[in-house]
């Protein structure tokens, strides 16, 4: 594994190895990002409901 080209080729198994790592990245990033966005949405929705109940 001396050159960068060899590293990316992964001994001929590039498709399989890099697809696995790419899929892992997608799954992990989605699981990190989606709950954060949901939290923001929830806070906004609940804030809207509180405002409507207490017109101050």
């Amino acid at each position: 594994m001396s050159t960068l080209a060899e590293f990316f080729a992964m001994g001929g198994y590039a498709v399989y190895v890099w697809s696995s790592y790419a899929l892992a990245a997608v799954v992990l990033i989605w699981n990190a990002v989606q709950p954060l966005r949901r939290e923001r949405r929830l806070l906004q929705t609940l804030a809207g409901r509180t405002r409507r109940r207490q017109p101050s």
Binding site: M1, F7, M10, G11, G12, Y13, Y16, V17, S19, S20, Y21, L23, A24, V27, L28, W30, N31, A32, P35, L36, R38, E39, L42, L43, Q44, L46, A47, T50, R51
Partner: protein, 248 residues
């Protein structure tokens, strides 16, 4: 020490702790991922038989281990909610399920990607892959059941019964699938067994497993924050929190 643990059982305290703990754990997992990836992709030598394709192990094995671990967490938290009426148990169990399903899905797909170059088929009727697929169905059933019940507390308690039954069932299912897969092969080493693994390959594996685990806890904390908001939206502390957030 139990003072500290008690804090976790109270939703407002859990929410506050999770606020700083989850970014910290994300940082830890990022560091561990970096170490594990360097160790696994660069430093570890290619396998004698499988060449560089064995490197999928660094995704596949931690995902598979975690898929089982998360189910235990889900069932354990559910049991806390069902038996000891701990609200946080209900909440954590519901939050953990999509994470567990994600890891199971990842384990299955990387298992296929590993199997294709090795055994020439996208799907092999291996005992472990088959058990993993059944585990995915168990997760999906749990998620569907909770989604179908409107009252979140009733949903949590019902799901807890299902998850606990699942924990008893999983060894039975696993044993029966092992039985099924050795029917025509004889008691050979199952396809995904590594007979013995070199240290240079093992250390990145353990590092990656820790990285996945730290990631899981961090993600679980965030999901749990969301679930707490849903479960506790009518309480005064949540209303205060929402107002404070809106003011920002």
């Amino acid at each position: 020490m139990f003072e500290g643990l008690h804090k976790f059982a109270s939703p407002p305290h859990f929410h506050a702790i999770s606020r700083w703990l989850s970014p910290t754990l994300y940082g830890v997992s990022l560091l561990l991922f970096a170490l594990g990836l360097v160790g696994g992709l660069v430093l570890a030598p290619a396998d004698y038989q499988q060449g560089d394709s064995f490197r999928i192990i660094y995704i596949h094995v931690p995902s598979a281990w975690l898929s089982m671990f998360v189910y235990m967490v889900m069932a354990g938290a559910g049991a806390c909610g069902l038996i000891w009426k701990m609200k946080m148990g209900d909440i954590v169990a519901r939050a953990a399920a999509p994470l567990g399903a994600s890891f199971t899905f990842l384990a299955l797909v990387t298992g296929s990607l590993w199997g294709k170059p090795m055994w020439g088929a996208w799907w092999v009727w291996d005992a472990r892959l088959t058990s993993e697929l059944i585990l995915l169905f168990l997760y999906l059933g749990y998620i569907a059941l909770q989604a179908a019940i409107e009252d979140r507390r009733v949903a949590a308690r019902t799901g807890a019964v299902l998850a606990i039954v699942g924990v008893v069932n999983i060894p039975i299912i696993h044993y029966s699938v092992e039985w099924w897969s050795t029917l025509h092969q004889g008691p050979t080493v199952t396809k995904f067994d590594q007979p013995s693994i070199a240290t240079s390959m093992l250390i990145p594996l353990l590092t990656m497993t820790l990285a996945f685990k730290a990631f899981f806890i961090a993600a679980l904390l965030v999901r749990t924050r969301c679930e707490i908001l849903e479960f506790e939206q009518h309480t005064s502390w949540v209303r205060e929190l929402v107002r404070a957030e809106a003011a920002r």
